[in-house]
Amino acid sequence: MRDAYLIGAGQSDYGAFPAESYRSLFSTAFDAAVGSVPKGLEPGAIDEAFVGTLGVGGRQLGLPGPAVTEHVGLDGVPCTRVENACAASGYAVRQAVAAVRSGMADVVLAGGFEVMSDTSSDATKYWLGVSGETEWERLSGTTFSGVYAQMASAHMDRYGTTREQLSHVAVKNHANGAKNPHAQLGFECTLEDAMAAPVVADPLNLYHCCPTSDGAACTIVASEDVVDAYTDEPIRIAGVGAGSDRVGLFQREEYTTVPASERAGESAYEEAGVGPDELDFAEVHDCFAIAELLAYEDLGFCERGEAGEFVASGATGPDGRLPVNTSGGLKSKGHPIGATGAGQIVEAYKQLSGDAGDRQLPDPRCGLTHNVGGSGGAAVVHVFERQPIEEVAR
């Protein structure tokens, strides 16, 4: 099996851009990704594409993939749309890795996009809720804020997790996002601000919830056979793991874990031959503050029930034992659904390339990204390793 490498990644700004279209945002991300390839890349070298999008607004429900790849001039390149709700483009990257490993393609584009700010708030809520379990969960009156709030209620009841601990996630991620020029909500907030925000779905307040966003992100994956044409400091996609689960939270045995994340993490660690202790940073799916805490536990960053204390201790801050969401996470950087998974990998690429600006970590070598669809119906985890060219397996 051939190894796959991350040779480029870039994103548009995340935010609300009435002057942009989904195609123009994708174009920006595509150019940024191509431009980030250390030794340059002729777009004609791309021989396969995977594009993630939920399709919010219904603007191009069918064939959204070719609609953007043809727009950026990838004439005739096979393109597949990947849909796994908020994990769409995380899964698109996994497809890219599979295409490379199988020998089907040598240079693959994997990205995603979403435009969420140009519909009415009611229409947006409709689209946000369509990835939950519709017949029962949705019709008990919940969208995702409600479902994650239910998870928070169970975690608080079982482990004594507090609202203040949830708010620490917002404080940390906003502090990180303030250093990210692409972030939608790139401002710092105090614990007092985060605690005092209006309630959305108790116990979650506004600062426990990510925004809705417009944006696009692209990554470029290359095979071991061609990687040295593009970089002298290859970043190996050392481990990929994925897992699915029942779409409705009520259909799962427990509400204080996301089994799909756990499964995805275990597979990715095993394939990469590393464990959580070897990680230098992680980008996890913090659509809601409780989601980041659950990720800590599901991915083995801390013991079950201890995530609240873990974040409050500063362990996942930029100077902590395991910096998490240096990009600002979904909370501060933004969450354009279909772009989010690829956008997390953009941060991993920047950190491992030493190109993360004010938020650059000191010489990271191994990072993880974790992307969840819905409340855990799908999850995908990637582990990336920076290695010099002589170590590239042949």
Partner: protein, 469 residues
């Protein structure tokens, strides 16, 4: 012969006082009404009827009937046989005889009379459900008086509360109270003496041929004064009416007025009861009920959640914008219909291979993965909250934003529901009948049926949860 063997009655928890109206309007037009019932935003005549009917069936300690009538002047659908849904909610056999009675405030007693006829004709057990929530123009007497409530009676050929005599009378008196086809509010010309004469003449004539010396009179009460004007025509004193009257606290209950009042008279242990219903047009029914033994009753008519006038308008949807334009979750009507055994009766499934419970009972077994069809098993409707949130303003999906505008924050929970043996299976459910903060992890709850939402003109009913009694 026919007899009442079980009685149920229900009124929603919200109340508004005459004083609250006076504050808002500078006056209150419903004479003799001190306060009245306001149905919650997720209640209607069908759900109130369900609440009364489950209580009547439980009081009678019977599971099935072979005849069903549903009576209301304001059925939630003007055309559609609501007894099909009500029968499914109550798990009645599908070959039960069914009748919908409407168009007159004496529809409730017409149901009882028709049940008596059916029993005489050979059926063995009947269920009569009367539920109403009249509506008028907000500035008028009819709307000021309009309450909400339901009563249900299980009848058999013989029993402790025998219907020993029945009479009726009708005479043309158009214009005293009417609602045109397609209109949503009931109106009247307000010709006071004419209206009064229509009432007194028809109820008096209906009672005229009966031989009765009642110790309680359950009489139609469009307001709190008119019933007493007929006391002389009935040959009773005001106290005989007042002792069981419901209009002073519950308001005008329309077709459920006499049924709810009769239910109270039976619950209070009266021995000889005269029930007199009046419907504009005008006609009257009179029934004599002689009680010679204890009648099993289950009344839930108390409520102590007061509303201000603005909240009253909100709950009733008078000042809210209705469903948003952005669309809601789309569950097609055929898909919804497939889930009716779960929505109405919490029918779960048991895996034939490993015995685990599943809800909804479809797909692979959650425990062992078996694809064998589940064996149907009904949950008790009681359970414990495992996870819960309060959905605040703006957090509701669009299909629930109208409900939230009307009713405010609501609880959304995951509940571990129990089967008869105490095994549990989880299902999501919206909270009702209590404030959102009355639901917490670990709390005991019970299921009831409410309106879930309306799409494409079709209201979907299903279970919600309330704090366990």
């Amino acid at each position: 012969m026919s007899a009442i063997v079980g009685v149920g009655a229900y009124a929603p928890r919200f109340r508004i006082s005459a004083e609250a109206f006076e504050e808002a309007w500078g006056r209150f037009d419903a004479a003799g009404v001190n306060g009245k019932v306001v149905p919650a935003a997720d209640e209607d005549q069908l759900t109130m009827g369900y609440e009364a009917a489950t209580r009547a069936l439980e009081a009678a300690n019977v599971g099935a009937v072979d005849w069903l009538a549903f009576a209301s002047t304001t059925p939630p659908m003007a055309e559609e046989d609501l007894t099909a849904r009500l029968g499914a909610m109550l798990d009645l056999p599908e070959d039960v005889g069914r009748h919908v009675l409407t168009g007159s405030t004496r529809a409730g007693t017409r149901g009882i009379v028709a049940a008596a006829d059916a029993l005489a004709g050979g059926i063995s057990r009947a269920l009569v459900v009367a539920a109403d929530a009249p509506r008028g123009e907000p500035d008028g007497e009819i709307d000021h008086a309009a309450g909400a409530g339901a009563a249900a009676f299980v009848l058999e050929a013989d029993g402790p509360a025998r219907i020993v005599d029945v009479a009726e009378h009708a005479s043309p008196y158009p214009g005293s109270r009417f609602r045109g086809t397609g209109e949503s509010t009931t109106d009247g010309l307000g010709v006071t003496r004419y209206d009064r004469r229509a009432f007194r003449e028809t109820v008096g004539a209906a009672v005229d041929g009966l031989s009765v010396d009642p110790d309680a009179v359950a009489i139609q009460a469009p307001d709190g004064k008119l019933p007493y004007r007929a006391a002389g025509d009935l040959g009773v004193d005001a106290e005989t009416i007042a002792s069981v009257a419901t209009v002073h606290e519950l308001g005008d209950l329309g077709a459920a007025s006499v049924p709810v009042t009769l239910a109270r008279a039976l619950a209070d242990g009266h021995g000889s009861i005269l029930a007199v219903a009046y419907g504009s047009g005008a006609g009257a029914d009179a029934l004599v009920v002689e009680v010679d033994g204890p009648v099993s009753t289950a009344l839930a008519l108390d409520g102590d959640d007061p509303l201000g006038y603005a909240e009253y308008l909100r709950q009733r949807g008078v000042v809210t914008a209705g469903p948003p334009s952005g669309g809601g979750a789309y569950v097609s009507v055929p898909t919804w219909r497939r889930s009716i055994p779960q929505r109405y009766r919490l029918e779960a499934g048991r895996c034939p291979d490993c015995g685990a419970l599943a809800f909804p009972p479809e797909g692979a077994c959650p425990a062992c993965g078996s694809r064998e069809p589940f064996e149907p098993t009904t949950l008790t409707g009681e359970g414990t909250i495992e996870a819960v949130t309060t959905i605040s303003q703006g957090g509701a999906p669009p299909e629930f934003s109208d409900l939230q505008s009307r009713a405010g924050d609501y609880a959304a929970a995951i509940v571990a529901f129990e089967d008869e043996g105490g095994e549990t299976v989880s299902a999501p459910a919206m909270g009702t009948d209590a404030e959102a903060d009355a639901f917490a992890v670990g709390d005991r709850v019970e299921a009831t049926i409410r309106r879930i939402y309306t799409q494409e003109g079709v209201t979907r009913y299903g279970f919600k949860i309330r704090p366990a009694e």
